[in-house]
């Protein structure tokens, strides 16, 4: 069993997208989750999908900083996976009310609600980026996601100087914002 400090380290590693932390959590928890899912009407592949999604939930939580683990990490992950799996079964009309619980569980409804919202926003932004087309997409990704500097971008995209690249970037940004917000407000 892990100590609280060890688990805290794992979580901060996760928030920093640290490969070792991810790997440790996988190694220590995946088998339990898989056996739960297979016992409840699922296939091994379902387990991989669910576990990945649960890891994303955990990542968001860890990153938010406000996360105080009030139970063991294992219990928490198990609770999330269980909830996600129930939801999936329900969606496919395969809900089994006698779903078996082999462990203690904690309430994770709030987390999942937040996750759903974040996931939607993520997809919305991905969609908006796709919609603005090239070169805007690459230009914005280079600056805001790959965090490249303006001079770097100017030479990579063939702009005469950083200022030109910057002007172009803002034009693209305004377009992206427009698309994003029109969808975002629509969604509300």
């Amino acid at each position: 069993m892990k100590t609280i400090d060890q688990e805290k380290d794992l979580l901060s590693g996760l928030a920093a997208n640290d490969t070792n932390a991810i790997e440790t959590i996988y190694r220590e928890n995946f088998a339990t989750i898989r056996s739960f899912i297979i016992k409840n009407n699922g296939y091994p592949d379902d387990a991989y999908d669910i576990f990945q999604e649960a890891m994303i939930v955990l990542f968001e939580k860890a990153k938010s900083g406000s996360f105080n683990l009030s139970c063991q990490l294992q219990t928490y992950l198990y609770s999330i996976c269980r909830r996600l799996w129930l939801k999936k079964l329900q969606k496919q009309n395969r809900y089994n009310p006698s779903i078996e619980t082999i462990q203690e569980i904690v309430a994770v409804e709030d987390e999942l609600e937040l996750h759903e919202k974040k996931d939607k926003d993520f997809l919305l932004m991905e969609g908006a980026l796709k919609k603005i087309g090239e070169p805007c997409k690459s230009l914005l990704e280079a600056f805001y996601i790959e965090k490249k500097s303006m001079p770097e971008i100017a030479s990579a995209f063939g702009y005469t100087n950083a200022d030109n690249a910057k002007t172009q970037k803002y034009k693209c940004l305004v377009r992206l914002k427009k698309i994003f917000f029109s969808k975002y407000k629509n969604k509300e």
Partner: protein, 366 residues
């Protein structure tokens, strides 16, 4: 202020790239200009979302890599997990096929019963019908037994029965799932279900409702709905002529009902120029049905009838649909494409109806 400069300032402020004097100035600026404050708030939010995307992408990528590496390594060997028993595994896999087989068996026994009743000399029907039921029950019983034996009594739950308290008519204006009906039909509805001729039911949501024109547009949200093509009718923008023969399809009963009549006035109730007066026999439930001329053009949508007069019915002119679509485009950025090819022209009425039926839906709800 130049917008680019403003955005630049917001980003630098957010990233902590401003010196103290700049920072102070910028904060002061925001305090005194609500507009700038608003832009700054919006832009910060947007940048948060972008950052979120960036983090998520990186994390998801990392996650996938770790997972596939561990899988390759055999960190979670697949064999240690014995999925229950093999039978249970197969049962899960073929459950659907078995259900289909059961359904077919049901149909066969039913049709056998029909044949028997037809050829039996006397009234054996009464005896035969319960027999059919029994057989179905036996089959179900067997299925249940198998399920119990497998210690996996998961009955696929039937869709909860939907209790509608109103019924009206609607029809597709765009094959990707947009249905037009009256605003008064869906006004107070909490749940809306549309049903096609075959009896397939789909959940739908109103995306537009205008009580003034009494038009509403529903979007089928059900994932079971498949896009349909070949809407056979078109929508003229011009006004139809007096005395033009017209007909309608609708759901005043559970079954689709055909009715015909003629255009009696170019304006509706109290001279309302947005609608026609038509003479046709309609009943509650016909609301939202198409009014179609002999060439298969939808000239209007049935909306109401005068209570104290016979055969005085009002239909909303179809050009109002164009206005509605424009408003939807503007407000929701949804483009609905009306059909442009009319395949009803020059067909006789029976054939026209055959083609039409598939696109006219029952609208139910509570």
């Amino acid at each position: 202020m130049d917008e680019n400069l403003l955005l630049d300032a917001i980003e630098r402020y957010r990233n902590g790239q401003m010196n103290d004097a700049e920072k102070l100035f910028f904060e002061e600026l925001q305090k005194n200009n609500p507009d700038i404050k608003q832009v700054a708030a919006e832009h910060s939010f947007f940048l948060d979302e972008l950052e979120n995307l960036s983090d998520q992408r990186a994390f998801r990528q990392n996650l996938k890599e770790v997972e596939s590496r561990l899988r390759k390594e055999g960190a979670f060997s697949e064999n240690e997990e014995q999925p229950k028993s093999k039978v249970a595994y197969l049962w899960n896999r073929y459950r659907r096929t078995i259900a289909v087989a059961a359904a077919i068996a049901g149909v066969i026994s039913f049709s056998t019963a029909t044949v028997i009743s037809r050829y039996s000399e006397n009234k054996k029907v009464a005896v035969i019908t319960p027999l059919v039921d029994n057989k179905l029950n036996q089959f179900e019983h067997k299925l249940n037994q198998i399920e119990h034996k497998l210690n996996d009594a998961t009955a696929i739950p039937a869709k909860p029965k939907f209790e509608a308290n109103f019924r009206a008519t609607g029809f597709l204006v765009d094959g990707s799932g947009y249905i037009i009906t009256n605003a008064h039909v869906v006004q107070n509805a909490k749940n809306i279900i549309v049903e096609n001729k075959k009896g397939d039911q789909f959940a739908a949501l109103p995306i537009y409702s205008n009580t003034l024109t009494d038009l509403a547009i529903l979007k089928i949200t059900d994932t079971a709905f498949r896009k349909v093509s070949g809407l056979p009718y078109t929508f003229p923008k011009t006004t139809a002529e007096l005395a033009e023969p017209i007909f309608t399809l609708g759901y005043p009963r559970e079954e689709v009902v055909y009715g015909e009549g003629y255009l009696s006035a170019k304006s509706g109730y109290y001279g309302d120029t947005a609608s026609y007066q038509i003479s046709i026999s309609v009943n509650p439930g016909n609301s939202g049905g198409p009014v179609i001329d002999k060439d298969g053009e939808v000239i209007g949508i049935i909306s109401s009838k005068e209570t104290n007069a016979d055969g005085v019915v009002f239909a909303i002119k179809s050009k109002n649909i164009y206005t509605a679509l424009k408003e939807i485009k503007k407000e929701k950025d949804i483009s609905i494409k009306l059909p442009t090819v009319n395949s009803l022209k020059d067909l006789d009425r029976v054939k026209q109806i055959k083609k039409l039926e598939d696109f006219v839906y029952k609208v139910k709800g509570n």
